[in-house]
């Protein structure tokens, strides 16, 4: 599993809009996905990728993860997107229509070639595959395993419902099976699962309800179409104070346990062992990002000294 990275909010920004690109540094989302695909009209594909490259090159004080959604590799733009944008060092590529493991493997190979050419570490560029069709959802397990670069699976409901020839509803019942399958594939491979966008920017209650559902299922983040959505999503993913308090107690308890030479201890009558500690550590890392605790929990506290 890759190093822990908080990804509650992944904000889409159109790659052809200078006024919006220049505001990327100011928003407090965890990641940005600069879009060269659906947001960019055909006539601007070429200009947009050069604009994005310029922006990335002058954005030296990076304060969030930067992903670029390229056009699918079987279009005439996909390869060119990589060629222009990768030298400006995004953190990763969001791959649309990742329907099969083979498509992801192809991107993996291309990224390796670019890394060699650019003389950067192999594996520098991550991959975030979009599972957004019936085929992609069925293949989720294989896709999750198809590259070491994959840090998360993203579920894309808009294209998925189109491929299913159904409408997307406010309650989202029709997405339930697909959401669950993407989750299983991600969790089984120790990577994150990121939920689909919520398109109605004016409906904050709807956004909150959908994010709460995704969180309950096991998703740890959501893709966003407007910066106004960040606050609600962060609120939903913020741990509750009692969860933070309990997590701190768990970490204290396990430290005491280790001093006693054991990996299991009782806390308030409940057993604390490795999985409980892991969950507590996750709560505390999120709490740190929300400013609810002052120090970031260290690896030694979670796993014990080597």
């Amino acid at each position: 599993m890759a190093d822990y990275k908080l990804r509650r909010s992944l904000l889409y920004v159109p790659g052809n809009m200078p006024s919006m690109l220049q505001n990327i540094p100011i928003f407090n989302c965890d990641s940005v996905i600069i879009d060269l695909e659906d947001a960019v009209p055909l006539s601007e594909k070429d200009a947009a990728r050069h604009l994005v490259k310029r922006f990335l090159m002058q954005y030296t004080d990076r304060n969030k993860e930067l992903l670029v959604r390229i056009n699918p590799l079987d279009t005439r733009w996909g390869y060119e997107d990589l060629k222009v944008v990768l030298p400006a060092m995004p953190d990763g590529i969001r791959l649309p229509k990742a329907d099969t493991p083979e498509i992801v493997e192809r991107l993996d190979t291309l990224l390796t070639e670019f890394e060699e050419e650019l003389e950067v570490e192999i594996g520098r560029f991550g991959i975030l595959p979009s599972l957004e069709s019936a085929l992609g959802v069925i293949n989720a397990v294989g896709i999750a395993r198809s590259s070491q670069r994959i840090f998360a699976l993203a579920f894309g409901a808009e294209d998925y419902t189109a491929s299913m020839e159904i409408e997307r509803s406010r309650g989202g019942e029709e997405l339930f099976n697909a959401r669950t399958r993407v989750l299983w594939a991600a969790k089984a491979n120790g990577i994150q699962a990121l939920d689909t966008i919520f398109a109605d920017v004016g409906d904050m209650e709807g956004l909150r309800a959908e994010t709460e559902l995704a969180k309950r299922l096991g998703y740890t983040g959501k893709c966003l179409v407007n910066p106004r959505q960040i606050e609600v999503v962060h609120e939903v993913f913020a741990p509750k104070q009692h969860e933070v308090d309990y997590a701190l107690q768990v970490i204290e308890a396990i430290k005491r346990a280790r001093q006693l030479g054991t990996g299991v201890i009782s806390l308030g009558g409940k057993m604390v062992d490795a999985p409980v500690v892991k969950r507590a550590a996750r709560v505390l890392r999120t709490a740190y990002a929300h400013g609810m605790v002052d120090t970031l929990i260290d690896e030694e506290a979670i796993h014990g000294a080597q």
Partner: protein, 512 residues
């Protein structure tokens, strides 16, 4: 020329008056007494009613070279000043000074009368075309820009002597009792007219809504009013009070508002007894919205909301978040309705609101004020008067008054406006001195004046993006580039008077 303490070149004198360069916000102590006017007597049976504006001007004794005043509570919907000036011109009177509480874009109609010499100058700031033409050298008339509190001070100390105050009275009786609460031109508070009514040599109430005696409640009483005259319409209701401004939906504006509200929470001021002022702009309302939420969550009962009042503050009053509203001007219909029905919604005059030379103005009791800016410099000086093209386009309003009075003044502004950086080495014009500004909030970061070290520490502890103001400037300029400095002629087209009467800056003609 003399340099004031901010390094601004101030002429020795302007429009026949010797100028005092600005030194600091709090030191000048007034001497002398409040300016007096003659006693009057109106015997039983005498009528104050006149039939036309011309008759009122004649009765007032207005002559060449005198000074008139109107109030700006009708804002850009005001018809009165234009009609007055046209009437005065028609009567052949010349050399009139205008000492209104503000002049709006709608008053561009009087420009021909400035050119012809009917109007000699302005004892007040100007919004819009008049200032722009003056800046281009196309109008030659002195302009002395004053704050709301500074105007009240100047009239009370007699440095501006108003010969005739024409007070637009939305609801008035034949003996001169008036308020602004009802009628076709209802504007709510008559705060700016209060000082004029008390100190002008002659007071004329002008109304389009004459009602049977007596008007209650009384905002300005009969004892101060010499004449009452009726006109068809005082103004355009649609432009007098705007429909309620909405909270901004612009993500950049919301980001600024979110930072600003977090600054207020971190300041320690947000507790029982909290007092607050904001403007009516979309970002200000977004800040109010977040502060309102925080007050509800913390079960905080504030003391008062102040300033130009919006429906938003009315809701906060009615929800029990404030004990009172101190209202010098109503910004929307909801505020007008509220001031008419709610005793806790108190009308106050500009003197009580913001005058530095009395026994204590309301601004002195403010915890926190949210203010805008067209430019800020690395010494925290703020410009709201001139735009990036150097033109004088805006009046000061209560900006410098509230900044000086409040415990914490917060500037909210987008970091980039019209492709130009908001933070400059040196603002084009200083409106409000940096020593009265606490925090500058932009979407790219928060700069805290060194006068608030504890607040700065707390913001850093809360992981807010605190930056040195120079660092913020460099960051913005990396996006915008550094703008070429404006070029000015030597000719002074306006002076910016600080609230205490000293001169904080001069506006010069733009080199075209």
């Amino acid at each position: 020329m003399a340099l004031n303490s901010l390094g601004r070149e101030i002429p020795e004198s302007y429009a026949g008056r010797k100028l005092v360069p600005y030194g600091d916000p709090y030191s000048i102590t007034p001497s002398g007494k409040v300016a007096a006017r003659r006693l009057r007597r109106v015997n039983p049976g005498a009528s104050k009613l006149l039939s036309s504006l011309r008759e009122a001007i004649e009765a007032s004794g207005l002559k060449d070279g005198m000074t008139i005043a109107t109030h700006h509570s009708l804002r850009n919907g005001d018809f009165l000043l234009n009609r007055l000036v046209a009437e005065i011109a028609g009567m052949g009177i010349r050399g009139i000074w205008i000492a209104s509480s503000s002049v709006h874009p709608v008053h561009a109609e009087i420009i021909p009368h400035i050119k012809s010499g009917v109007i000699a100058g302005f004892h007040c700031g100007v919004n819009g075309l008049i200032g722009e033409m003056a800046s281009r050298g196309e109008l030659s008339c002195p302009i002395v820009v004053r704050t709301h509190g500074g105007r009240a001070r100047a009239i009370m100390e007699g440095s501006v002597q108003v010969d005739v105050a024409f007070i637009a009275a939305p609801c008035c009786d034949e003996y001169g009792n008036m308020n602004g609460y009802s009628g076709p031109s209802a504007c709510g508070s008559l705060g700016y007219a209060q000082t004029d009514a008390l100190h002008a040599a002659c007071v004329v109430a002008v109304t389009d809504n004459l009602v049977p005696f007596p008007v209650v409640p009384v905002s300005i009483p009969q004892t101060l009013v010499d004449y009452v005259v009726t006109v068809d319409r005082l103004g355009d209701p649609a432009k007098i009070v705007s429909t309620t401004t909405r909270i901004t939906t612009d993500p950049v504006g919301l980001q600024i508002a979110s930072f600003a509200s977090q600054v207020i929470e971190a300041s320690g001021l947000l507790k029982d007894g909290f007092s607050f002022q904001t403007g009516s702009g979309g970002i200000s309302l977004a800040v109010s919205d977040k502060v309102r939420g925080a007050m509800h969550r913390g079960n905080i009962k504030g003391s008062f909301g102040c300033g130009g009042i919006t429906g938003y503050f009315v809701e906060m009053l009615e929800e029990g978040l404030f004990g009172a509203l101190m209202d010098v001007q109503c910004f929307d219909q909801e505020a007008v309705k509220s001031i008419a029905r709610n005793r806790a919604h108190q009308e106050i005059g500009a003197d009580m609101y913001a005058n530095p030379f009395n026994a204590g103005a309301v601004v002195n009791r403010l915890d926190c004020v949210i203010l805008g800016a067209t430019e800020v410099d690395t010494s925290f000086n703020v410009n709201v008067n001139t735009e990036s093209n150097g033109y004088l386009l805006h009046n000061t309003g209560g900006h410098s008054d509230t900044a000086a009075g409040a415990k914490l003044s917060i500037i909210v502004a987008p970091s980039i406006r019209g492709r130009l950086p908001i933070v400059r080495d040196r603002v084009t014009t200083v409106t409000t001195p940096g020593e009265t500004i606490g925090v500058v909030v932009t979407e790219r970061g928060i700069a805290v004046n060194d006068r608030h070290p504890e607040l700065k520490e707390e913001l850093i502890r809360r992981k807010l993006p605190v930056k040195e103001i120079g660092e913020l400037q460099r960051e913005i300029c990396r996006v915008t580039g550094t703008p070429r400095p404006l070029q000015f002629e030597d000719q002074v087209v306006a002076v910016i008077e600080y609230r205490d009467g000293s001169i904080i800056d001069a506006v010069r003609r733009v080199k075209e």
